[in-house]
Amino acid sequence: MKSLFLRDIKLAFRSGGGFGLTLAFFLIVILFVPLGVGADSAILARIAPGILWIGAILSCLLSLDRIFQLDFEDGTLEALATSPLPLESIAASKAAAHWITTGLPLTLIAPLLAYLLQMPSSGYIWLIASLLIGTPALSFIGTFAAAVTVGVKRGGLLLSLLVLPLYIPTLVFGAQTVIRATVSLDPMPALLLTTGISLFSIALMPFACAMALKVNLK
């Protein structure tokens, strides 16, 4: 399982430009907000938490279809399916590799972009905490959606339509954590709920993923 995890990270850096692509997309999405909404810093500060979270989700979405597609097309997935590695642990290590190459970098750059949007300073700690805890859920749920749509040619759009509704709980609890921190409400309940969703996803999504892979490998 470790070798698959390390291989995926190596591949991400070698072919996909590593997390550069995801970070660039995140930066562009955040840049678009003032361009679209206008430079009124009062508005920007107020919507910053939500925009950062939406940007993080869309950036995560970007690289989801590459999780299984490449291995499916060159036969590696089939060979892995007959290896001693169970499909569940293949899904789990793929999701973990996706988190390391997208979720984590997004979390690290988010405070910088929050500064661009003049987010109130009380929100920074909670932004990092909520993203750090929330993005694993995005990766694990996203890996499930990638497994479901791996057999579909040009399944990228379908994947987004399937996965975004599944992201709603993480988005709401994650963004609420930061919003409540910026309006001096207690953000802890929201953070705990985000943690709950993430733990649930990490625990159960690999099994749903394995079911979907078994069907798509037929």
Binding site: T149, P165, I168, P169, V172, Q176, A190, A208, A212
Partner: protein
């Protein structure tokens, strides 16, 4: 003759063929009489005036929107466990009906709230939850259409339905949590159980019954269509391979 007998397409077609006309007449009668009773023969509410009459559409539609998804979940589980083709097709057939019920629930909910909110749309938790349910339905149907081999499609949509149900419930509570942060609860929240006195209670029951029967009738009709299409495609493929 266990219930599972009817999961065989031929037996299902025979049974549904006999039951469908009866159900159609029954649901049409019930629907018309329920709506007429509710629309014409119920008094105004002292607070909401005539808009209370909208409950005869909103409550049944909202119930059916949710129950349609539950039925799809059960049918998906039956497909995954017992591999009965008819239940997978019944789940596929129920989705468009679920979407229509969700749209009706959203439209009537928004209109019902207008006098109090001043606008047709208010990000009130219950309405928002129905919009979320609508998006879940769209994802489910899109997945059915995207996959050519219908057995694979049935498997994948069943798995999606299971996972989607969990996240739909989570989204429902997330929306409640989210609306607390908004402002201290909408003045007219459709959530609070309406105190419905007898004048409205019985017509509402009739309307709910009518919507349930309408749902069952449409599911049977659409499932028969799906079975016929599956048979036609199978014949077409068989014809191509022999021809």
């Amino acid at each position: 003759m266990s219930l599972w007998e009817y999961a065989n397409p031929v037996k299902f077609m025979a049974l549904s063929g006999r039951v469908l006309p009866v159900l159609t007449i029954l649901s049409a009668m019930l629907l018309v009489s329920g709506l007429i009773w509710g629309f014409f023969f119920t008094p105004h509410d002292y607070k909401q005036g005539a808009t209370v009459k909208i409950i005869f559409l909103h409550v049944p539609a909202a119930m059916m929107a949710i129950n349609a998804w539950v039925m799809m979940l059960v049918a998906s589980l039956i497909w995954l466990i017992r591999r009965h083709h008819v239940s997978a097709l019944a789940a596929k057939a129920a989705a468009p009906i679920g979407i229509t019920m969700t749209l009706i629930a959203i439209a009537t909910g928004a209109i019902w709230g207008k006098p109090t909110w001043g606008t047709y749309w208010e990000w009130e938790p219950r309405l928002t939850a129905f919009v979320i349910l609508l998006v879940f339905y769209l994802g489910y149907i899109a997945l059915w259409e995207a996959i050519e081999d219908k057995d694979t499609a049935a498997d994948l949509t069943s798995i999606l339905c299971m996972v989607g149900s969990v996240f739909a419930v989570l989204s429902r509570y997330a929306v409640n949590f989210w609306s607390q942060g908004l402002h201290q609860g909408a003045s007219l929240s459709l959530d609070k159980e309406q105190h419905v006195d007898n004048a409205f209670y019985f017509p509402l029951l009739v309307c709910i019954g009518a919507f349930v029967l309408l749902f069952i009738t449409l599911v049977l009709l659409r499932t028969r269509t799906e079975i016929r299409l599956r048979r036609a495609n199978a014949l077409a493929n068989r014809g191509r391979s022999h021809g």
